[in-house]
């Protein structure tokens, strides 16, 4: 079977697109970070010598991990429920999941400002119910940023999880049960492992998307909630330091790759990529 040859050809169109319209422009810009205009490492030295940049980078990675984690915890049960429903119910619930995606990020972020303000809806309700005696500061805090980002990114966790779960062969579960496994056991030892590709896909997706956010943290966060994309954006838009901005993003890219590599150790992305075969 000449399977191998054909498969690599399937890769060519997207490879072409990415190489010409992504890799080449990127290389040109990253080139700027090293050649400004002659070869120099000054941008990189600056990143490592002035602690604020690494601090912000670290924060960004932590926030992304938290957001992905919260999305996983909230999203897994919902996907599970969705996958278990007959098509009619399932589709209605899917609509509820998809609708937020149609709202622009700007608008969704803005609705949180309306909700969490000192005279916002949430405080109004809590005051009315006498649960608090004066308005809580919810807005312009890290909590608000996470609340906002999780809400925006949940669909990106639920949908991959859902499509993977839907594809899990029910017969395997029935087989396990007929062999004497209880519902909990069946879940833990058959369903859960089979859902892992979806978990990995969703987690990676949400994590990576979180790294690029800058509108939401800018509008909902406090002064310490600076994420690296915000810094890069300022460098480009206001200060016009393209070389430095490019250096910052190269560092971001590399640290993300390192994290994914570590993730790989534990979850075995390798195996997922090369394909799991059931016997």
């Amino acid at each position: 079977m000449a399977t191998k040859d054909l498969h690599i050809y399937l890769l060519l169109p997207s490879l072409g697109l990415l190489i010409i319209f992504f890799v080449v422009p990127m290389l040109r810009i990253f080139g700027l970070s090293f050649f400004d205009p002659v070869f120099t490492l000054k941008h990189y030295l600056r990143i490592f010598q002035i602690e604020v940049y690494l601090q912000v980078l670290f924060r960004t990675l932590i926030v992304a991990l938290i957001v992905a984690g919260v999305c996983l915890i909230l999203g897994y049960p919902v996907s599970y429920l969705l996958a278990a429903q007959p098509p009619k119910v399932c589709n209605i619930l899917l609509i509820l999941v998809l609708i937020p995606l149609w709202t622009s990020v700007l608008v969704r972020t803005y609705s949180w400002m309306v909700l969490l303000g000192r005279e916002g809806l949430l405080n109004q309700i809590l005051l009315y119910l006498n649960l608090i005696s004066k308005p809580m500061t919810l807005l312009y805090t890290s909590k608000a940023v996470i609340l906002g980002m999780v809400q925006i990114l949940l669909p990106f966790m639920i949908l991959p999880l859902f499509s993977t779960m839907k594809g899990i062969d029910r017969n395997l579960l029935k087989a396990a049960q007929s062999l004497g496994a209880g519902p909990m056991q069946t879940f833990l030892r058959v369903f859960l492992p089979l859902s892992l590709p979806g978990v990995a896909a969703g987690f990676i997706l949400v994590f990576i998307l979180s790294l690029g956010f800058f509108i939401t943290p800018a509008l909902l966060g406090g002064r310490k909630d600076i994420l690296i994309s915000m810094l890069i954006e300022t460098q480009v838009r206001e200060l016009l330091n393209w070389g430095f901005a490019a250096a910052l993003s190269l560092i971001l890219l590399l640290s993300t790759i390192v994290i994914l590599a570590i993730f790989n150790r534990f979850v075995g992305l390798d195996r997922l990529v090369s394909g799991i075969k059931f016997s």
Binding site: L10, L17, F21, F22, T103, V105, S111, S274, G275
Partner: protein, 272 residues
């Protein structure tokens, strides 16, 4: 049905209720903007306040009668659909190649396919702008499609890969042994089973394109897409027209999903 498998004892009906309640809360949380934006879009006051004191449909009439809003809306839809088709085909092919194929350097390819999502959009934007300017692809519909596809393909790739990973290859092999050729086996066995993954990927591709702001700001020239138009408004003046636009889009998506559902059901009834 999973229901019967998991929720067959009395203890499990407790778990089932818990699951429903939890999911209900999460779904409500996801839908919160809807409950806020929709009322605001009907507000009669000129700045965003909640809850609105009195109601009017002025923001909707403003949206529909203003070409500086309707033209971007149309463009965003056109762009979204073409990008969706383009990115879905490319991404699905790539996923097939990565999951099924055996060739060296897979991990590098995987990183390559994920990298448009990792690199901050602002950097992609200026890099793309610089490059496109040289190629005279600015303010060009196909330039926009290419720019959007670069960021949309990874989404398709991830979703289709996940679907493919759970696909049992023996099913396809069985088809071969029954005399089907490769294409037939793919279309009739593999494709229907991985379809949820492909459709999810396609949907993400559309949404990524439709909601794309930063790259578009650079390469769209004088013809704005909807997010660019909204951003301009939001930066200078927060005015409920944005709420009307968003509510309209939400209603549109509900209508689209419901009608797709209706078509599917009718087809199933007819050909079952």
């Amino acid at each position: 049905m999973i229901n019967k498998v998991f929720l067959s004892s009395r203890l499990n009906s407790f778990r089932s209720t818990l699951l429903w309640v939890f999911s209900g809360i999460v779904l409500f949380y996801m839908a919160i903007p809807l409950f806020i934006i929709l009322p605001i879009s009907f507000s009669s006051s000129s700045y965003m306040e909640f809850p609105p004191r009195s109601f009017s449909i002025q923001w909707y009439s403003k949206y529909f009668s203003d070409p500086s809003w309707t033209r971007p809306t149309l463009l965003s839809f056109q762009l979204g659909i073409v990008t969706m088709l383009f990115a879905t085909i490319l991404g699905t092919l790539a996923a097939l190649a990565m999951i099924r194929g055996k060739f060296p350097g897979k991990r590098s390819f995987q990183i390559l396919f994920l990298s448009p999502m990792i690199v901050p959009v602002i950097i992609i934007s200026i890099a793309t702008y610089n490059f496109f300017a040289k190629l005279k692809l600015i303010e060009n519909f196909w330039g926009l499609v290419l720019g959007h596809s670069v960021v949309a393909v990874p989404f398709v790739f991830i979703n289709v890969s996940a679907a493919l990973m759970n696909f049992d290859i023996t099913l396809e092999k069985a088809a071969y042994s029954l005399g089907a050729n490769r294409l037939q086996a793919f279309l009739k066995v593999t494709f229907p089973l991985i379809r949820p993954g492909i459709l999810t990927g396609a949907l993400f591709a559309f949404i990524v394109s439709f909601d794309e702001l930063i790259i578009t700001m650079f390469i769209s020239g004088t013809r704005h897409t909807l997010p660019v138009r909204m951003w301009m408004d939001l930066w200078l003046e927060i005015d409920p027209t944005i709420a009307a636009v968003s509510s309209f889009l939400m209603l549109l998506s509900i209508a689209a999903i419901l009608s797709a559902e209706w078509i599917r059901r009718r087809a199933e009834q007819r050909y079952a």
